[in-house]
Amino acid sequence: MKVQSAMFYFPEEVIEHIFSFLTHHPDRNTVSTVCKAWYKIERLSRCEVFVGNCYAIRPDRAAARFPGLRSLTLKGKPHFADFDLVPPDWGGLAGPWIEAMARSCPNLEELRMKRMVVSDESLELLVHAFPNFKALVLVSCEGFSTDGLAAVARSCKSLRELDLQENEIEDRGPRWLNSFPDMCTSLVSLNFACLKGEVNLKSLERLVCRSPNLKCLRLNRAVPVETLAKIMNQCPNLEDLGTGSLLADQFSEAYVSLISALQKCKKLRSLSGFWDASPLCLLAVYPICANLTGLNLSYAPTVQGQDFINLIQHCVKLLRLWVLDSVGDKGLAVVASACKELQELRVFPSDLFAAGPATVTEEGLVAISTGCPKLNSLLYFCHSMTNSALITVSKNCPNFTRFRLCILEPRKPDPATNEPLDEGFGAVVKTCKNLRRFSISGLLTDQVFYYIGKYAKALEMLSIAFAGDTDQGMTYVLNGCKNLRKLEIRDCPFGDGALLADVTKYETMRSLWMSSCDISLRGCKALATKMPSLNVEIINEWEAEMEENLNNGVAEVISNNNNKHINNGNDERKVEKLYVYRTVGGPRTDAPDFVWTL
């Protein structure tokens, strides 16, 4: 008590200086709630703001509160939008945010956005409104073209970072790379791996030549080995490289040049790309494998079998590995024996349809867990999994913070016992006390949710699909997981009872997503009525013609023109998609016709 009152006698500058040691956003949020004085000091000195849901607050309000803002991170669409579950034109527009920042936060230097819709016009505004703009990171975004990139390249006098990860970018030609002015020498990080079209290779070489600080460079598939070799000779200080197309003929000049260039890059720690990689090009990579900490082969279906084994066995310091399941259990066994420091593993499906012979099973995962006890982050797509394997894995690796297992066939039981996978996933939550993110699959009953509610106390994000039996399942999770921030559910038999079991819980969370479950309009309306601090949004793509096909008693045609509130019709109708989130911004003003805010 005495210490706290003493703080009031400190000058503001001193308090501000103390706050400058708080870099963690939740900490800064907490101190801002202590008193008005601290709120004011904190907000004026805040440099970085993280907005996990762009609709949780109005852009104007955020911009006005933090006029000194230098770095903004924004997330837009719900996570399941990545899997086409959110209709196009749903929202998540970057424009209003950039405009608000342009009005109130002239010091903006960095903008990071995930799952947002960004237009070329917004990009133009971005680079003209902020003279100090340095870093643009776009992940899983859409709505812009290479013209927008040209605007960014052209106008940023001191651009340090342009990082494009898995965006849908309209290709309007290779000219954008020419737009970097000759005086631009400040680039540290350039990632255009997700661009599908051609790039101007000469411009690329010239750009690299005049960027002495370049540490990270990720090329797209259109860049051939010849250019890669030239580039690498220019930047021996590269730490992170995304190769373009690694297709090379035997002992061509390009190949020889690549070998010598790679050997000069002593600081190279992370490799990705490997499109069309020929075995010969892989040979060139062996000498640098021993120092690699990160390797992403998930876009390289040609690297499998013995080629993969030959490569990976050199990677003894690897911390992070992303591969395709075509490496097989055999490949994973070699990973387990070579990569003893491994912390993160992602195994993606190489075929979305059916089982081929050489994919991964529970054996591969068990081998990894045995050989790599430091593993703490897993994403694993497989065709089947057993309870005993999961129990073994959790015993071997108790340090999981992220555990995502996707069995390709929905509701598939343990093939050895034909039982649900409740016990296996239960073992993971029991053993891994620091588990923050969890995705489960296969045949699962309410029992697994009992375990999650009871043991997963650190859990922040849970993804569920095709699981559970009754409302009790979801209720276990809502009641037990006290740190839960994001809950996303699809195709589960959870109804209104589960939805309304603990309505105040949703105020402690960022968001809830439920699609193809058993909730009704009545339940959603009840939630909206009880909790005015939440936006309860329904996504319905119904049209009048659907009524002709139904014969369950819903006879009225719903007229949806600009009528966002459903006041007629049967409230017992099941809701297709529900998105609930806490907000201080009120109902959305930019919601499209098919989004109804209750």
């Binding site: 899997f83 876009y299 066939e409 929905p410 509701r411 034909n418 195709d491 119904w542």
Partner: protein
């Protein structure tokens, strides 16, 4: 009558499989192993997916949970590089008589009629109405309601605008006459 229609349907589907064109990486086995026994309509809605054979995979929208960008990359590799007009997939609405809401499927995610059927089974099995016997029909470009399975798969996916799962007895009138 219902059994007859289904047997013909299955026979034609199996015949069509022989004429289906497939592209794939050399060495990859894309031909699903044929189930030892033809599954009748009455079986399809009650059998759990696990029992239908190791290669039977159900496809629903957004499953497996792989980002569209990555999905497109996989498909680009499989189809030989050219992205063609599959961007965004071929999403069509699926209604089922008695079900409270519609679903959507991406016809590009299926290789043929068998996988489509299995996908629909998984999607709709949780609705109470799924206990009855059903036939799958579709609405084509001209707006006509047709029974699924008559035309080659590739032709079907370009002409199918909507799918409808109908009660078996209503579908009798749709069976294609010789």
């Amino acid at each position: 009558m219902e059994g007859q229609t289904q047997a013909r349907y299955d026979a034609e589907v199996d015949n069509l499989k022989d004429t289906e064109l497939r592209l794939g990486l050399p060495g990859s086995d894309e031909e699903p192993k044929k189930a030892p026994k033809k599954r009748g309509l009455e079986d399809s809605s009650v059998k759990a997916p696990a029992e239908t054979g190791p290669t039977a995979k159900a496809q629903v929208v957004g499953w497996p949970p792989v980002r569209s960008y990555r999905k497109n990359s996989i498909q680009m590799v499989k189809k030989g590089g050219d992205q063609n007009n599959e961007k965004g997939g071929m999403l069509v609405k699926v209604s089922m008589d008695g079900a409270p809401y519609l679903r959507k499927v991406d016809l590009n995610m299926y290789k043929g009629y068998r996988e489509l059927r299995e996908g629909l089974d998984v999607m709709f099995k949780c609705f109470p109405a799924a206990k009855d016997e059903f036939a799958v029909a579709y609405e084509d470009k001209d707006g006509d309601l047709m029974l699924v399975g008559d035309v080659p798969w590739e032709m079907f996916i370009t002409s199918c605008k909507k799918l409808r799962i109908m009660k078996g007895n209503e579908a009798i009138g749709l069976s294609s006459s010789p």
